[in-house]
Amino acid sequence: MSIKEVFHRFKQERIAFISFIFLVMLSVVAIFAPFIVPYDPNQQDLVNVLANPSLSHWLGTDNLGKDIFSQVMMGTRTAIQASIFAILIPLFIGVPLGIMAGYIGGLVDDIFMRIIDAIMAIPGILLALGITAALGISLWNAMIAIGIVSIPQFARLARGQTLQIRTEPYVEAAKISGAGPLWTMYKHIIPNILPPILVQASVNISFAVLTETSLSFLGMGAQSPQISWGSMIEQAYSLINLNPWLIVYPGIATALTVMAGNFVGDGLRVAIDPKLKG
Protein backbone atom coordinates (compact mmCIF):
# COMPACT_ATOMS: atom_id res chain seq x y z
CA MET A 1 0.00 0.00 0.00
CA SER A 2 1.52 3.23 -1.00
CA ILE A 3 1.68 6.34 1.11
CA LYS A 4 -0.28 8.13 -1.60
CA GLU A 5 -3.13 5.70 -1.27
CA VAL A 6 -3.17 6.07 2.50
CA PHE A 7 -3.17 9.81 2.20
CA HIS A 8 -6.00 9.70 -0.27
CA ARG A 9 -8.09 7.59 2.04
CA PHE A 10 -7.08 9.74 5.02
CA LYS A 11 -8.37 12.82 3.20
CA GLN A 12 -11.77 11.23 3.07
CA GLU A 13 -11.89 10.88 6.84
CA ARG A 14 -13.33 14.34 7.18
CA ILE A 15 -12.89 14.92 10.93
CA ALA A 16 -9.44 13.42 10.95
CA PHE A 17 -8.39 15.53 8.04
CA ILE A 18 -9.74 18.70 9.60
CA SER A 19 -7.90 17.78 12.79
CA PHE A 20 -4.74 17.28 10.81
CA ILE A 21 -5.12 20.73 9.25
CA PHE A 22 -5.76 22.09 12.74
CA LEU A 23 -2.53 20.56 14.04
CA VAL A 24 -0.63 21.95 11.08
CA MET A 25 -2.07 25.37 11.82
CA LEU A 26 -1.11 25.03 15.48
CA SER A 27 2.42 24.20 14.43
CA VAL A 28 2.53 27.29 12.26
CA VAL A 29 1.27 29.36 15.18
CA ALA A 30 3.85 27.69 17.38
CA ILE A 31 6.70 28.54 15.05
CA PHE A 32 5.70 32.12 14.51
CA ALA A 33 4.08 32.81 17.90
CA PRO A 34 6.72 35.29 19.09
CA PHE A 35 6.17 37.38 15.93
CA ILE A 36 2.41 37.27 15.63
CA VAL A 37 1.25 37.65 19.22
CA PRO A 38 -0.64 40.92 19.67
CA TYR A 39 1.23 41.61 22.93
CA ASP A 40 4.38 40.36 24.56
CA PRO A 41 2.78 37.63 26.69
CA ASN A 42 4.99 38.52 29.64
CA GLN A 43 4.44 42.25 29.37
CA GLN A 44 2.79 43.45 32.55
CA ASP A 45 0.18 46.16 32.36
CA LEU A 46 -0.68 46.97 35.93
CA VAL A 47 -3.36 49.47 34.96
CA ASN A 48 -5.25 46.84 33.04
CA VAL A 49 -5.45 43.88 35.38
CA LEU A 50 -8.11 41.18 35.13
CA ALA A 51 -9.67 43.00 32.17
CA ASN A 52 -12.64 41.41 30.50
CA PRO A 53 -12.39 40.29 26.89
CA SER A 54 -12.41 43.27 24.55
CA LEU A 55 -11.23 44.26 21.12
CA SER A 56 -7.79 45.14 22.42
CA HIS A 57 -7.49 42.07 24.66
CA TRP A 58 -9.45 39.30 22.97
CA LEU A 59 -9.47 37.03 25.99
CA GLY A 60 -8.87 39.67 28.65
CA THR A 61 -5.86 39.97 30.96
CA ASP A 62 -4.60 38.24 34.09
CA ASN A 63 -3.80 39.65 37.52
CA LEU A 64 -0.62 41.30 36.27
CA GLY A 65 -2.31 42.65 33.16
CA LYS A 66 -0.69 40.14 30.81
CA ASP A 67 -2.67 39.45 27.65
CA ILE A 68 -4.32 36.03 27.88
CA PHE A 69 -4.73 35.53 24.15
CA SER A 70 -1.00 36.04 23.60
CA GLN A 71 -0.29 33.62 26.43
CA VAL A 72 -2.52 30.96 24.92
CA MET A 73 -0.70 31.41 21.61
CA MET A 74 2.68 31.07 23.28
CA GLY A 75 1.38 28.03 25.12
CA THR A 76 0.81 26.43 21.73
CA ARG A 77 4.53 26.51 21.26
CA THR A 78 5.14 24.51 24.42
CA ALA A 79 2.44 21.99 23.55
CA ILE A 80 3.77 21.43 20.05
CA GLN A 81 7.34 21.18 21.27
CA ALA A 82 6.31 18.61 23.86
CA SER A 83 4.52 16.64 21.14
CA ILE A 84 7.56 16.66 18.91
CA PHE A 85 9.74 15.41 21.74
CA ALA A 86 7.21 12.76 22.61
CA ILE A 87 7.34 11.49 19.05
CA LEU A 88 10.99 11.86 18.13
CA ILE A 89 12.57 10.38 21.26
CA PRO A 90 10.65 7.10 21.15
CA LEU A 91 10.90 7.02 17.34
CA PHE A 92 14.68 7.10 17.41
CA ILE A 93 15.21 5.09 20.58
CA GLY A 94 12.15 2.95 21.18
CA VAL A 95 11.45 1.79 17.65
CA PRO A 96 14.99 0.59 16.80
CA LEU A 97 15.17 -1.22 20.16
CA GLY A 98 11.83 -2.86 19.50
CA ILE A 99 12.79 -3.95 16.00
CA MET A 100 16.05 -5.36 17.24
CA ALA A 101 14.43 -7.30 20.05
CA GLY A 102 11.80 -8.68 17.73
CA TYR A 103 14.31 -9.56 15.06
CA ILE A 104 16.85 -11.23 17.32
CA GLY A 105 14.26 -12.94 19.49
CA GLY A 106 15.10 -15.53 22.13
CA LEU A 107 16.66 -14.47 25.43
CA VAL A 108 17.37 -10.92 24.28
CA ASP A 109 13.73 -10.48 23.44
CA ASP A 110 12.68 -11.97 26.77
CA ILE A 111 14.87 -9.64 28.78
CA PHE A 112 13.79 -6.74 26.65
CA MET A 113 10.14 -7.45 27.24
CA ARG A 114 10.65 -7.76 30.99
CA ILE A 115 12.25 -4.33 31.07
CA ILE A 116 9.50 -2.83 28.94
CA ASP A 117 6.83 -4.42 31.16
CA ALA A 118 8.58 -3.14 34.25
CA ILE A 119 8.71 0.43 33.02
CA MET A 120 5.14 0.34 31.80
CA ALA A 121 3.98 -0.80 35.21
CA ILE A 122 4.98 2.53 36.74
CA PRO A 123 2.21 5.09 36.18
CA GLY A 124 3.39 7.34 33.35
CA ILE A 125 2.93 10.65 35.12
CA LEU A 126 4.83 9.40 38.16
CA LEU A 127 7.73 8.21 36.04
CA ALA A 128 7.75 11.51 34.16
CA LEU A 129 7.80 13.35 37.48
CA GLY A 130 10.71 11.27 38.71
CA ILE A 131 12.72 11.72 35.53
CA THR A 132 12.07 15.46 35.49
CA ALA A 133 13.16 15.75 39.09
CA ALA A 134 16.30 13.74 38.36
CA LEU A 135 17.24 15.78 35.30
CA GLY A 136 16.43 19.06 37.03
CA ILE A 137 13.23 21.00 36.92
CA SER A 138 12.82 22.67 33.55
CA LEU A 139 10.52 22.59 30.58
CA TRP A 140 13.08 20.90 28.36
CA ASN A 141 13.67 18.17 30.90
CA ALA A 142 9.95 17.68 31.32
CA MET A 143 9.66 17.19 27.58
CA ILE A 144 12.58 14.77 27.55
CA ALA A 145 10.89 12.88 30.38
CA ILE A 146 7.66 12.66 28.40
CA GLY A 147 9.66 11.30 25.48
CA ILE A 148 11.36 8.71 27.64
CA VAL A 149 8.08 7.61 29.18
CA SER A 150 6.72 7.04 25.67
CA ILE A 151 9.57 4.76 24.65
CA PRO A 152 8.09 1.47 25.92
CA GLN A 153 4.83 1.96 23.98
CA PHE A 154 6.68 2.42 20.70
CA ALA A 155 9.21 -0.28 21.40
CA ARG A 156 6.53 -2.77 22.21
CA LEU A 157 4.58 -1.93 19.07
CA ALA A 158 7.67 -2.16 16.88
CA ARG A 159 8.61 -5.48 18.41
CA GLY A 160 5.14 -6.95 17.90
CA GLN A 161 5.06 -5.88 14.28
CA THR A 162 8.57 -7.18 13.66
CA LEU A 163 7.68 -10.55 15.14
CA GLN A 164 4.76 -10.78 12.73
CA ILE A 165 6.69 -9.73 9.67
CA ARG A 166 9.81 -11.70 10.47
CA THR A 167 8.16 -14.95 9.44
CA GLU A 168 6.53 -13.58 6.28
CA PRO A 169 7.70 -15.45 3.18
CA TYR A 170 9.31 -12.45 1.55
CA VAL A 171 11.40 -11.67 4.59
CA GLU A 172 12.45 -15.30 4.84
CA ALA A 173 13.30 -15.20 1.16
CA ALA A 174 15.39 -12.11 1.62
CA LYS A 175 17.25 -13.77 4.46
CA ILE A 176 17.92 -16.91 2.44
CA SER A 177 19.15 -14.86 -0.50
CA GLY A 178 21.86 -13.58 1.80
CA ALA A 179 20.60 -10.16 2.84
CA GLY A 180 22.18 -8.97 6.08
CA PRO A 181 19.98 -8.26 9.11
CA LEU A 182 20.41 -4.49 8.85
CA TRP A 183 19.45 -4.55 5.19
CA THR A 184 16.42 -6.72 5.93
CA MET A 185 15.29 -4.42 8.69
CA TYR A 186 15.74 -1.38 6.55
CA LYS A 187 14.25 -2.77 3.36
CA HIS A 188 11.41 -4.90 4.62
CA ILE A 189 10.61 -4.38 8.24
CA ILE A 190 10.71 -0.61 8.65
CA PRO A 191 8.38 0.18 5.73
CA ASN A 192 5.92 -2.37 7.00
CA ILE A 193 5.78 -1.28 10.60
CA LEU A 194 5.71 2.40 9.77
CA PRO A 195 1.91 2.76 9.45
CA PRO A 196 1.03 1.50 12.94
CA ILE A 197 3.90 3.57 14.37
CA LEU A 198 2.44 6.60 12.64
CA VAL A 199 -0.91 5.93 14.31
CA GLN A 200 0.80 5.59 17.68
CA ALA A 201 2.71 8.81 17.06
CA SER A 202 -0.40 10.86 16.47
CA VAL A 203 -2.15 9.38 19.49
CA ASN A 204 0.98 10.17 21.48
CA ILE A 205 0.44 13.85 20.77
CA SER A 206 -2.52 13.66 23.12
CA PHE A 207 -0.49 11.91 25.78
CA ALA A 208 2.31 14.44 25.45
CA VAL A 209 0.07 17.47 25.69
CA LEU A 210 -1.87 16.10 28.67
CA THR A 211 1.27 15.04 30.53
CA GLU A 212 3.03 18.32 29.81
CA THR A 213 0.10 20.32 31.19
CA SER A 214 0.01 18.08 34.27
CA LEU A 215 3.73 18.50 34.91
CA SER A 216 3.55 22.24 34.40
CA PHE A 217 0.51 22.34 36.65
CA LEU A 218 2.54 20.63 39.37
CA GLY A 219 5.30 23.19 38.81
CA MET A 220 7.68 20.64 37.31
CA GLY A 221 7.41 21.88 33.72
CA ALA A 222 7.34 25.36 32.29
CA GLN A 223 9.01 27.99 34.47
CA SER A 224 8.42 31.67 33.99
CA PRO A 225 8.88 33.30 31.55
CA GLN A 226 8.03 30.13 29.62
CA ILE A 227 4.33 29.68 29.15
CA SER A 228 2.43 26.44 29.17
CA TRP A 229 -1.29 25.83 29.22
CA GLY A 230 -0.71 23.77 32.35
CA SER A 231 0.95 26.58 34.27
CA MET A 232 -1.70 28.97 32.96
CA ILE A 233 -4.38 26.74 34.46
CA GLU A 234 -2.44 26.56 37.69
CA GLN A 235 -2.26 30.34 37.88
CA ALA A 236 -5.86 30.75 36.85
CA TYR A 237 -6.92 28.36 39.60
CA SER A 238 -5.63 30.78 42.21
CA LEU A 239 -7.72 33.49 40.59
CA ILE A 240 -10.96 31.56 40.18
CA ASN A 241 -12.68 33.75 42.69
CA LEU A 242 -11.79 36.84 40.71
CA ASN A 243 -12.27 35.61 37.18
CA PRO A 244 -13.26 31.99 36.54
CA TRP A 245 -12.92 32.48 32.79
CA LEU A 246 -9.15 32.47 32.98
CA ILE A 247 -9.26 28.77 33.65
CA VAL A 248 -11.42 28.09 30.61
CA TYR A 249 -9.18 29.27 27.76
CA PRO A 250 -6.07 27.19 28.36
CA GLY A 251 -8.31 24.22 29.18
CA ILE A 252 -10.09 24.43 25.85
CA ALA A 253 -6.83 24.95 23.99
CA THR A 254 -5.49 21.77 25.60
CA ALA A 255 -8.64 19.81 24.88
CA LEU A 256 -8.77 20.84 21.22
CA THR A 257 -5.18 19.78 20.68
CA VAL A 258 -5.70 16.48 22.44
CA MET A 259 -8.86 15.83 20.42
CA ALA A 260 -7.08 16.63 17.18
CA GLY A 261 -4.31 14.17 18.02
CA ASN A 262 -6.83 11.44 18.75
CA PHE A 263 -8.85 12.11 15.60
CA VAL A 264 -5.79 12.05 13.40
CA GLY A 265 -4.83 8.74 15.00
CA ASP A 266 -8.28 7.30 14.33
CA GLY A 267 -8.32 8.57 10.78
CA LEU A 268 -4.90 7.14 10.05
CA ARG A 269 -5.89 3.81 11.49
CA VAL A 270 -8.86 3.60 9.15
CA ALA A 271 -6.89 4.91 6.19
CA ILE A 272 -4.27 2.22 6.71
CA ASP A 273 -6.71 -0.58 7.32
CA PRO A 274 -10.09 0.21 5.77
CA LYS A 275 -11.62 -2.89 7.36
CA LEU A 276 -11.62 -1.05 10.67
CA LYS A 277 -14.17 1.46 9.52
CA GLY A 278 -17.21 0.91 11.68
Partner: protein, 314 residues
Protein backbone atom coordinates in the same frame (compact mmCIF):
# COMPACT_ATOMS: atom_id res chain seq x y z
CA UNK B 1 -3.51 -25.40 33.00
CA UNK B 2 -4.62 -22.49 35.09
CA UNK B 3 -2.08 -23.04 37.87
CA UNK B 4 0.66 -23.30 35.29
CA UNK B 5 -0.44 -19.97 33.84
CA UNK B 6 -0.53 -18.48 37.31
CA UNK B 7 2.94 -19.77 38.07
CA UNK B 8 4.34 -18.34 34.85
CA UNK B 9 2.76 -15.02 35.64
CA UNK B 10 4.32 -14.98 39.08
CA UNK B 11 7.76 -15.84 37.79
CA UNK B 12 7.52 -12.98 35.32
CA UNK B 13 6.72 -10.64 38.17
CA UNK B 14 10.08 -11.09 39.86
CA UNK B 15 12.34 -9.57 37.19
CA UNK B 16 9.80 -6.82 36.68
CA UNK B 17 10.00 -5.88 40.34
CA UNK B 18 13.79 -6.10 40.41
CA UNK B 19 14.17 -3.87 37.38
CA UNK B 20 11.67 -1.24 38.44
CA UNK B 21 12.97 -0.94 41.96
CA UNK B 22 16.50 -0.56 40.65
CA UNK B 23 15.39 2.04 38.10
CA UNK B 24 13.60 3.99 40.81
CA UNK B 25 16.55 3.71 43.14
CA UNK B 26 19.07 5.05 40.67
CA UNK B 27 16.66 7.70 39.46
CA UNK B 28 16.04 9.11 42.88
CA UNK B 29 19.72 9.21 43.75
CA UNK B 30 20.28 11.27 40.62
CA UNK B 31 17.87 13.93 41.79
CA UNK B 32 19.83 16.96 42.92
CA UNK B 33 19.43 18.08 46.51
CA UNK B 34 20.25 15.87 49.43
CA UNK B 35 17.58 14.81 51.92
CA UNK B 36 20.24 15.25 54.59
CA UNK B 37 20.41 18.98 53.86
CA UNK B 38 16.72 19.38 54.54
CA UNK B 39 17.10 17.42 57.77
CA UNK B 40 19.96 19.61 58.96
CA UNK B 41 18.56 22.99 57.91
CA UNK B 42 20.80 25.86 58.89
CA UNK B 43 23.37 23.44 60.29
CA UNK B 44 24.05 21.85 56.94
CA UNK B 45 27.79 22.34 57.02
CA UNK B 46 29.78 19.93 54.84
CA UNK B 47 31.04 18.08 57.95
CA UNK B 48 27.56 17.65 59.43
CA UNK B 49 26.24 16.51 56.06
CA UNK B 50 28.95 13.89 55.71
CA UNK B 51 28.37 12.73 59.26
CA UNK B 52 24.63 12.27 58.84
CA UNK B 53 25.05 10.64 55.45
CA UNK B 54 27.31 8.08 57.00
CA UNK B 55 24.94 7.58 59.89
CA UNK B 56 22.07 6.91 57.46
CA UNK B 57 24.21 4.84 55.11
CA UNK B 58 23.67 7.24 52.23
CA UNK B 59 27.34 7.56 51.35
CA UNK B 60 27.72 4.00 50.07
CA UNK B 61 27.72 3.24 46.33
CA UNK B 62 24.25 3.00 44.78
CA UNK B 63 24.55 -0.69 44.08
CA UNK B 64 25.38 -1.48 47.72
CA UNK B 65 22.58 0.72 48.97
CA UNK B 66 20.24 -1.06 46.59
CA UNK B 67 21.56 -4.42 47.75
CA UNK B 68 20.97 -3.49 51.39
CA UNK B 69 17.50 -2.30 50.62
CA UNK B 70 16.69 -5.41 48.60
CA UNK B 71 17.96 -7.73 51.32
CA UNK B 72 15.66 -6.08 53.85
CA UNK B 73 12.76 -5.85 51.43
CA UNK B 74 12.89 -9.58 50.77
CA UNK B 75 12.51 -10.07 54.50
CA UNK B 76 9.50 -7.79 54.48
CA UNK B 77 11.25 -4.70 55.85
CA UNK B 78 10.86 -1.76 53.49
CA UNK B 79 12.78 0.58 55.77
CA UNK B 80 11.72 3.87 57.25
CA UNK B 81 10.94 7.27 55.81
CA UNK B 82 14.04 9.45 55.79
CA UNK B 83 11.98 12.34 57.06
CA UNK B 84 9.30 11.16 59.42
CA UNK B 85 10.93 7.92 60.46
CA UNK B 86 7.60 6.23 59.84
CA UNK B 87 7.94 2.62 58.67
CA UNK B 88 7.49 2.66 54.87
CA UNK B 89 5.14 -0.27 54.82
CA UNK B 90 2.75 1.38 57.30
CA UNK B 91 2.93 4.68 55.46
CA UNK B 92 2.13 3.18 52.09
CA UNK B 93 -0.53 0.75 53.24
CA UNK B 94 -2.24 3.48 55.26
CA UNK B 95 -2.42 5.67 52.18
CA UNK B 96 -3.22 2.86 49.79
CA UNK B 97 -6.56 2.28 51.46
CA UNK B 98 -7.57 5.85 50.72
CA UNK B 99 -6.38 5.75 47.12
CA UNK B 100 -8.01 2.38 46.47
CA UNK B 101 -11.37 3.60 47.71
CA UNK B 102 -11.05 6.58 45.44
CA UNK B 103 -9.95 4.59 42.41
CA UNK B 104 -12.57 1.89 42.88
CA UNK B 105 -15.33 4.47 43.01
CA UNK B 106 -13.92 6.21 39.97
CA UNK B 107 -13.81 2.90 38.11
CA UNK B 108 -17.40 2.16 39.10
CA UNK B 109 -18.35 5.58 37.79
CA UNK B 110 -16.48 5.08 34.53
CA UNK B 111 -17.91 1.64 33.93
CA UNK B 112 -21.50 2.42 34.78
CA UNK B 113 -21.61 5.73 32.94
CA UNK B 114 -19.60 4.28 30.09
CA UNK B 115 -22.09 1.45 29.71
CA UNK B 116 -25.03 3.79 30.06
CA UNK B 117 -23.79 6.15 27.39
CA UNK B 118 -22.80 3.36 25.02
CA UNK B 119 -26.17 1.63 25.30
CA UNK B 120 -28.07 4.87 24.90
CA UNK B 121 -26.01 5.79 21.90
CA UNK B 122 -26.61 2.44 20.23
CA UNK B 123 -30.27 2.35 21.11
CA UNK B 124 -31.02 5.84 19.82
CA UNK B 125 -28.78 6.18 16.80
CA UNK B 126 -28.43 9.76 15.55
CA UNK B 127 -30.73 11.00 18.24
CA UNK B 128 -29.95 13.88 20.59
CA UNK B 129 -28.97 11.32 23.24
CA UNK B 130 -26.64 9.63 20.83
CA UNK B 131 -24.87 12.91 20.22
CA UNK B 132 -24.68 13.56 23.92
CA UNK B 133 -23.08 10.18 24.49
CA UNK B 134 -20.57 10.74 21.72
CA UNK B 135 -19.89 14.20 23.03
CA UNK B 136 -18.92 12.75 26.37
CA UNK B 137 -16.76 10.12 24.74
CA UNK B 138 -14.79 12.77 22.88
CA UNK B 139 -14.59 15.50 25.45
CA UNK B 140 -14.07 13.41 28.58
CA UNK B 141 -10.75 12.15 27.30
CA UNK B 142 -9.52 15.50 26.03
CA UNK B 143 -9.45 17.74 29.07
CA UNK B 144 -6.76 17.40 31.71
CA UNK B 145 -8.24 15.70 34.76
CA UNK B 146 -7.18 18.54 37.04
CA UNK B 147 -9.06 20.97 34.84
CA UNK B 148 -12.21 18.93 35.17
CA UNK B 149 -11.63 18.78 38.91
CA UNK B 150 -11.46 22.56 39.10
CA UNK B 151 -14.68 23.04 37.18
CA UNK B 152 -16.39 20.53 39.44
CA UNK B 153 -15.14 22.33 42.54
CA UNK B 154 -16.30 25.70 41.24
CA UNK B 155 -19.72 24.40 40.32
CA UNK B 156 -20.62 21.79 42.93
CA UNK B 157 -18.60 22.93 45.88
CA UNK B 158 -18.24 26.69 45.84
CA UNK B 159 -21.35 27.53 43.88
CA UNK B 160 -23.92 24.93 44.85
CA UNK B 161 -22.30 23.70 48.06
CA UNK B 162 -23.30 20.08 47.46
CA UNK B 163 -19.91 18.50 48.01
CA UNK B 164 -16.87 19.52 50.07
CA UNK B 165 -13.92 20.85 48.10
CA UNK B 166 -11.24 19.01 50.05
CA UNK B 167 -10.50 16.14 52.34
CA UNK B 168 -11.44 12.53 52.54
CA UNK B 169 -13.55 10.42 54.88
CA UNK B 170 -12.93 6.70 55.10
CA UNK B 171 -15.87 4.52 54.13
CA UNK B 172 -15.51 2.62 57.39
CA UNK B 173 -15.68 5.81 59.46
CA UNK B 174 -18.73 7.33 57.87
CA UNK B 175 -20.25 5.95 54.65
CA UNK B 176 -22.29 9.09 54.01
CA UNK B 177 -19.30 11.35 54.49
CA UNK B 178 -17.29 9.01 52.31
CA UNK B 179 -19.71 9.38 49.40
CA UNK B 180 -19.69 13.14 49.77
CA UNK B 181 -15.93 13.51 49.85
CA UNK B 182 -15.18 10.91 47.21
CA UNK B 183 -17.61 12.11 44.57
CA UNK B 184 -15.81 15.05 42.96
CA UNK B 185 -12.32 13.52 42.90
CA UNK B 186 -13.72 10.23 41.64
CA UNK B 187 -15.58 11.92 38.79
CA UNK B 188 -12.47 13.92 37.83
CA UNK B 189 -10.45 10.72 37.80
CA UNK B 190 -13.12 8.72 36.06
CA UNK B 191 -13.95 11.19 33.29
CA UNK B 192 -11.34 9.80 30.96
CA UNK B 193 -12.52 6.28 31.77
CA UNK B 194 -16.13 7.16 30.95
CA UNK B 195 -14.96 8.47 27.60
CA UNK B 196 -12.79 5.52 26.72
CA UNK B 197 -15.31 2.92 27.83
CA UNK B 198 -18.22 4.63 26.05
CA UNK B 199 -16.16 4.69 22.91
CA UNK B 200 -14.94 1.13 22.97
CA UNK B 201 -18.18 -0.36 24.15
CA UNK B 202 -20.15 1.59 21.60
CA UNK B 203 -18.10 0.41 18.63
CA UNK B 204 -17.94 -3.10 19.99
CA UNK B 205 -21.68 -3.05 20.61
CA UNK B 206 -22.38 -1.79 17.11
CA UNK B 207 -20.28 -4.62 15.73
CA UNK B 208 -22.08 -7.23 17.81
CA UNK B 209 -25.46 -5.83 16.85
CA UNK B 210 -24.57 -6.50 13.24
CA UNK B 211 -23.64 -10.12 13.97
CA UNK B 212 -25.75 -13.05 12.91
CA UNK B 213 -26.93 -14.23 16.28
CA UNK B 214 -28.21 -10.84 17.29
CA UNK B 215 -29.97 -10.52 13.97
CA UNK B 216 -31.48 -13.92 14.65
CA UNK B 217 -32.63 -12.75 18.06
CA UNK B 218 -34.26 -9.81 16.37
CA UNK B 219 -35.99 -11.95 13.84
CA UNK B 220 -37.40 -14.04 16.65
CA UNK B 221 -39.30 -10.92 17.64
CA UNK B 222 -37.10 -9.77 20.52
CA UNK B 223 -37.16 -6.06 21.18
CA UNK B 224 -34.11 -3.91 20.55
CA UNK B 225 -33.62 -3.46 24.31
CA UNK B 226 -33.68 -7.19 24.85
CA UNK B 227 -31.31 -7.80 21.98
CA UNK B 228 -28.88 -5.32 23.44
CA UNK B 229 -29.08 -6.58 26.98
CA UNK B 230 -29.38 -10.30 26.61
CA UNK B 231 -27.10 -10.78 23.66
CA UNK B 232 -25.22 -7.69 22.73
CA UNK B 233 -23.83 -6.41 25.98
CA UNK B 234 -22.26 -9.59 27.22
CA UNK B 235 -20.40 -10.20 24.03
CA UNK B 236 -19.54 -6.58 23.53
CA UNK B 237 -18.14 -6.26 27.05
CA UNK B 238 -15.39 -8.75 26.30
CA UNK B 239 -12.95 -6.41 24.55
CA UNK B 240 -13.88 -3.68 27.02
CA UNK B 241 -12.67 -5.63 30.06
CA UNK B 242 -9.07 -4.97 29.11
CA UNK B 243 -9.89 -1.31 28.70
CA UNK B 244 -11.32 -1.23 32.21
CA UNK B 245 -8.19 -2.84 33.59
CA UNK B 246 -5.97 -0.28 31.87
CA UNK B 247 -8.30 2.47 33.04
CA UNK B 248 -7.87 1.36 36.63
CA UNK B 249 -4.10 1.64 36.30
CA UNK B 250 -4.41 5.06 34.68
CA UNK B 251 -6.66 6.24 37.47
CA UNK B 252 -3.96 5.36 39.99
CA UNK B 253 -1.56 7.53 38.01
CA UNK B 254 -4.16 10.28 37.90
CA UNK B 255 -4.34 10.43 41.69
CA UNK B 256 -0.93 12.12 41.62
CA UNK B 257 -2.56 15.36 40.52
CA UNK B 258 -6.10 14.90 41.79
CA UNK B 259 -5.07 14.13 45.36
CA UNK B 260 -3.05 17.34 45.44
CA UNK B 261 -6.03 19.43 44.36
CA UNK B 262 -8.44 17.86 46.83
CA UNK B 263 -5.85 17.50 49.62
CA UNK B 264 -6.50 13.79 49.93
CA UNK B 265 -3.82 11.94 51.89
CA UNK B 266 -3.38 9.07 49.44
CA UNK B 267 -0.59 7.28 47.64
CA UNK B 268 -0.40 9.80 44.79
CA UNK B 269 0.30 12.66 47.15
CA UNK B 270 2.72 10.52 49.11
CA UNK B 271 4.62 9.78 45.91
CA UNK B 272 4.82 13.42 44.81
CA UNK B 273 6.05 14.50 48.22
CA UNK B 274 8.55 11.67 48.27
CA UNK B 275 9.94 12.81 44.93
CA UNK B 276 10.12 16.43 46.04
CA UNK B 277 11.76 15.56 49.36
CA UNK B 278 13.90 12.79 47.85
CA UNK B 279 12.55 10.38 50.41
CA UNK B 280 13.52 7.43 48.27
CA UNK B 281 12.63 4.92 50.93
CA UNK B 282 9.01 6.01 50.69
CA UNK B 283 9.05 6.33 46.91
CA UNK B 284 10.53 2.88 46.57
CA UNK B 285 7.76 1.46 48.74
CA UNK B 286 5.07 3.30 46.79
CA UNK B 287 6.34 2.09 43.43
CA UNK B 288 6.75 -1.46 44.68
CA UNK B 289 3.22 -1.64 45.97
CA UNK B 290 1.72 0.14 42.96
CA UNK B 291 3.36 -2.31 40.60
CA UNK B 292 2.08 -5.24 42.58
CA UNK B 293 -1.33 -3.64 42.39
CA UNK B 294 -1.13 -3.26 38.63
CA UNK B 295 -0.09 -6.88 38.34
CA UNK B 296 -2.97 -8.01 40.50
CA UNK B 297 -5.37 -5.95 38.41
CA UNK B 298 -4.06 -7.45 35.19
CA UNK B 299 -4.53 -10.81 36.75
CA UNK B 300 -8.11 -10.08 37.76
CA UNK B 301 -8.77 -8.73 34.29
CA UNK B 302 -7.60 -12.03 32.87
CA UNK B 303 -9.88 -13.98 35.16
CA UNK B 304 -12.88 -11.85 34.29
CA UNK B 305 -11.99 -12.28 30.66
CA UNK B 306 -11.97 -16.02 31.14
CA UNK B 307 -15.33 -15.97 32.86
CA UNK B 308 -16.89 -13.89 30.11
CA UNK B 309 -15.31 -15.91 27.33
CA UNK B 310 -15.25 -19.64 27.93
CA UNK B 311 -13.34 -20.16 24.71
CA UNK B 312 -10.16 -18.73 26.16
CA UNK B 313 -7.35 -21.10 27.04
CA UNK B 314 -4.07 -20.66 28.80
Amino acid sequence: MFTKYLLRRLIYVIPTLLITTFVVFSLILLIPGDPVVALLGENATPEKIAQLQEQMGLNKPIIIQYGDWLLNAVQGDLGRSLFTGEPVFDAVIGRLGVTLQLVVISTIISVSFGMLFAVISVYFPNNLLDYLARFVSIVGASFPNFWIAMLLVILFSLHLGWFPSTGFTNITDNPGGFLKTVMLPAISLGAIGIAVITRHLRSSLLEVMESDYVRTAYSKGNSRWKAIFSHGLRNAMLPVVTTIGIGFGNAIGGTVVIETIFAIPGVGQLAVNAILQRDFMILQGVILILIMLVIIINFITDIIYAILDPRIEY
